[in-house]
């Protein structure tokens, strides 16, 4: 565990000097939390529940299930905010990819991997350190932006009950369970791809494809094709646990010291 922490500290010391990484970790979450708040602010009191109902193609029963105790304008505002949950799921998937991609391919470019592998550190320790160094800031940024988002909603929404509803099990599952799991998926993919490519950008771009299924969810919800509710979140979490376990296994298997040392030029 101590060596994993050593790796994490080194990674942070190094990657946070990179402006692109810094912007991704701080700027993106800020942007994602400000946009919905600004939208609520600009639509203050003008959220039409019937209009939203038509636009989202949702039945009244489904809406009431999502809104819980909220009624009228409150429910309309909550439904609008709810559409932004996908952004909070995208965030932990996007942010660590940039960090992880730089962290493995960066070693390759600076030729530091050979001295690093010559130390008595296990492959699992090395990859765990690198993965956690990417996951922790992403998850913390996601949590941070969620609290900014809730604070903003509390100030600008039609009633404090709207912000309180953001602490419903659906949101809590999304932010505190699915988000970190998605983050791990992104990192595992980035580690796997980084072990095979020679450019951080290539690793980043390939791993960015992970955003596609999340975007598909977003679009599906937007066009009323699916309702992201509590049960749906739990299914996604269960699926992600399986996917993450598989990806982590393959990430360790694909990180072959000898191949990396002898074929990386």
């Amino acid at each position: 565990m101590k060596k994993i922490w050593v790796i994490i500290r080194k990674e942070w010391a190094e990657v946070f000097r990179n402006k692109i990484v810094l912007f991704t970790v701080i700027g993106v979450p800020l942007l994602f939390s400000i946009i919905p708040i600004a939208l609520i602010g600009s639509l203050q009191g003008a959220t039409d529940l019937d209009g939203l109902q038509n636009e989202l193609g949702m039945g009244l029963e489904a809406i009431q299930q999502l809104c819980g105790p909220l009624q009228g304008v409150d429910c309309g505002q909550y439904l609008l905010l709810q559409q932004f949950m996908i952004l909070f799921l995208m965030m932990p998937a996007i942010i660590p990819v940039t960090i992880a991609a730089y962290s493995i391919v960066g070693e390759k470019n600076t030729r530091t991997l050979e001295p690093l592998l010559a130390t008595p550190i296990g492959t699992e320790q090395l990859l765990a350190g690198k993965a956690l160094a990417a996951v922790i800031p992403a998850v913390l940024a996601c949590f941070g932006s969620f609290f900014i988002f809730v604070g903003g909603a509390n100030l600008l929404a039609s009633s404090p009950a709207v912000a309180a509803q953001l602490f419903s099990p659906l949101w809590l599952l999304g932010i505190f369970l699915v988000g970190p799991l998605l983050s791990l998926t992104g990192v595992s993919l980035a580690v796997m791809i980084s072990s095979r490519v020679t450019e951080p950008r290539a690793a980043e771009q390939l791993t960015a494809l992970l955003v596609l299924p999340v975007t598909a969810l977003f679009m599906g919800q937007l066009f009323g094709l699916l309702v992201v509710d509590q049960t749906f979140m739990l299914w996604i979490a269960a699926g992600l646990i399986l996917v993450d376990a598989t990806l982590l296994y393959f990430a360790v298997q694909l990180f072959q010291r000898e191949t990396i040392l002898t074929r990386w030029k």
């Binding site: 080194k10 600076t110 030729r111 530091t112 050979e114 001295p115 008595p120 072959q256 000898e258 002898t262």
Partner: protein, 635 residues
């Protein structure tokens, strides 16, 4: 350390195998599947359809084609083709097992199936009788004057004795791909994982033909998915047995025989089936049914359980145990140490013993195996063959301990450029679990004159400073052995001298240092002994002895004026090998100058020569090196 999984070649092989097979299946499907496939011709009353031809040839041969294409595309060569016939190696029992085991397991499976479903068993063999009668009628021949049980015994005997050979042609197409190629490539995962993965891949590869009714037909519950699963199950069990035969037989041929045998005998169980029985093909009686496959599964489980012992036996045979242990006081010992990269032998049979406190030089042209040797000895890459011990730890068994005890200066001094010198060193010190990190980092930064720049990012350092920092990194944990891979490469003369002086200081401290360099003067000055490599060890000795062995010893006489008679007179002396006159100098080659020089001086003085200086002629290490490498290259 585990050998490397060659994922690139595995991916290419699988893409070709599945590409060819599944495309063939698509063609079969589009032309009527296995049921309505157009008949191409008829042999002895049996129709041969397009589906049968395509599946028996292209589909079943796709793994063999993939083997050939992958080796060709990736220029792998045929060194480990798996085709060798291990005759004379007393492996006849693997061949015998391959020949009879499938029949025994299949009949045992039939016995089990009919014990579970006794109502499906036909003691009068009515189904078989009807089949024989139909065949006789179709060919317009007379009935055979044998009872049905005798006929069954003939059929069985033929199935057991001849079918392994007859069916080998088709079985070879699969085995030459799966066992001879993919199994070998998956073995770095270990026998167990390799067998499970290979069996699963093999099973899934059958999916399209199973979906088109092969082995299980169509009407079974959950078709075709349950059929694909059952086939995968059988493939894993049979794959373990075929894989074990390949491993123990050191050749793919036993697996080919066994695969041919199962193909030939598989149908025998159906002959016992009552004509009115409606068996579930997922359960039997064909050996691909779960119940009938039970003997296969149990044997596979047993082989799986004992695979560690088999793998160890094979490993011992391919890499025999060391003949001796390193002697006391030896810091590094290598015995037959070798490394193969694909078709290239980077290091071939290196034998060396390096005592503690020695500075040992590795010389050789680019690609001679110096860096590979250092990487093997520092437990960064695994040897393909042979054994080595570093600081008392066996390579391949105690790699983590070796990494703790060695320091390595890599060919390029990779540093985290955005981090300070101090942060770079403290990071590595923490990974090496150095007790007092800050003190140790400060000690080496001061020792190498970098303390003043400790907070500057390494990206701002000169090449020499980076090299010094990399040396400090290699020394932070006070290793017992220090590997220096071209420490002065690319440095200016001043920085080179500084690094050399530092190495001299380390030598004075009694550290064991392995120095790989192209700088012959550096090796001459620093090394106690030198090994000249060119894939294999060309020479190993002290620099002085290397000179003597190659060039002998020579004495140079500087004369006030040389005359031809001087050289002739000296050449006549019995202990002189050769005399060469160059300007006013005489170069005399002889064995024992300490003893003979007074005689030579007396002879020359007697001839009236005026001797100005006398000294031993010293060949440069460059001459020695070039001679050795040229001779090694032409050997």
């Amino acid at each position: 350390m585990k050998p490397v999984l060659d994922t690139r070649r595995i991916s290419i092989f699988l893409a070709i195998t599945f590409g060819i097979a599944w495309l063939t299946a698509l063609v079969v499907y589009l032309t009527g599947g296995t049921v309505d496939s157009p008949v191409l011709f008829t042999v002895a009353g049996t129709s041969v359809s397009l589906a049968l031809v395509l599946i028996a040839t292209v589909y079943m041969w796709s793994p063999a084609i993939a083997n050939i294409l992958t080796r060709t595309i990736t220029r792998e060569g045929w060194k480990d083709s798996g085709l060798r016939l291990p005759l004379g190696e007393r492996r006849w029992w693997t061949w015998a097992l391959a020949w009879v085991l499938p029949a025994a397991l299949t009949l045992l499976g039939a016995l089990l199936y009919f014990l579970v479903f006794p109502q499906h068993y036909d003691p009068e063999l009515l189904g078989f009788k009807a089949m024989v009668d139909a065949a006789i009628e179709a060919q317009g021949q007379q009935p055979i004057p044998l009872d049905i049980w005798t006929l069954l015994l003939v059929q069985l005997g033929q199935g057991v004795l001849l079918s392994p050979i007859v069916n080998s042609l088709f079985a070879f197409g699969e085995e030459f791909g799966w066992r001879a190629y993919l199994q070998d490539k998956l073995m770095p995962l270990g026998f167990r994982k390799a067998m499970l993965l290979l069996g699963a891949i093999w099973g899934v590869w059958h999916a399209p033909v199973i979906a088109m009714g092969h082995n299980y037909g169509f009407g079974y519950p959950g078709a075709p998915w349950t059929g694909i699963l059952a086939m995968t199950w059988f493939s894993i069990a049979a794959g373990v047995i075929f894989g074990w035969l390949t491993l123990r037989g050191r050749s793919v041929w036993p697996a080919v025989i066994a695969h041919g045998a199962i193909n030939g005998i598989a149908g025998i169980n159906v002959l016992f089936l009552h004509p009115e029985a409606q068996p579930n093909p997922l359960l039997g009686p064909l050996p691909v049914g779960i119940i009938a496959a039970l003997p296969w599964t149990l044997l596979a489980a047993y082989l799986f359980w004992r695979s560690d012992k088999d793998a160890a036996d094979v490993s011992r045979e391919t890499n025999p145990p060391p003949t001796r242990k390193p002697t006391r006081g030896t810091m590094i010992a290598a015995e037959n140490l070798s490394k193969q990269f694909d078709t290239v032998t980077a290091v071939d049979g290196l034998d060396v013993e390096i005592p503690a406190g020695e500075v040992f030089g590795l010389l050789g042209p680019n690609g001679a195996g110096k860096t590979t040797t250092i990487r093997m000895l520092s437990a960064l890459i695994a040897p393909s063959r042979g054994h080595a011990w570093v600081a008392g730890h066996h390579i391949g068994e105690e790699d983590a301990l070796i990494r703790k005890d060695v320091g390595i200066l890599t060919e390029t001094p990779g540093m985290y450029e955005q981090l300070s010198a101090q942060r770079n060193l403290s990071f590595f010190a923490e990974l090496y679990e150095v007790p007092r990190v800050d003190k140790q980092v400060e000690r080496y930064l001061r020792m190498l004159g970098l303390w003043g720049r400790r907070n500057d990012p390494v990206g701002t350092f000169s090449k020499g400073m980076r090299q010094k920092l990399a040396i400090a990194r290699a020394l932070l944990h006070e290793p017992k052995v220090l590997f220096l891979d071209e420490p002065t490469s690319g440095l200016d003369p001043e920085a080179s001298r500084m690094v050399r002086e530092f190495i001299s200081d380390l030598k004075a401290e009694g550290r064991t240092i392995i120095l790989s360099t192209h700088n012959l003067d550096e090796a001459d000055r620093l090394c106690d002994r030198i090994a000249v490599l060119r894939g294999r060890l060309l020479a190993l000795d002290t620099p002085t002895n290397l000179r003597r062995e190659l060039f002998g010893r020579s004495v140079v006489f500087h004369l006030a004026k040389a005359k031809a008679t001087f050289a002739k007179a000296l050449a006549r002396l019995p202990f002189v090998h050769e005399v060469e006159a160059v300007d006013n100098k005489l170069v005399v080659k002889l064995d024992d100058p300490e003893k003979r020089n007074p005689q030579l001086v007396a002879e020359l003085v007697g001839l009236g020569a005026q001797i100005q200086f006398v000294g031993e002629m010293r060949q440069s290490l460059e001459d020695v090196y070039l001679q050795l490498v040229e001779a090694g290259g032409t050997a």
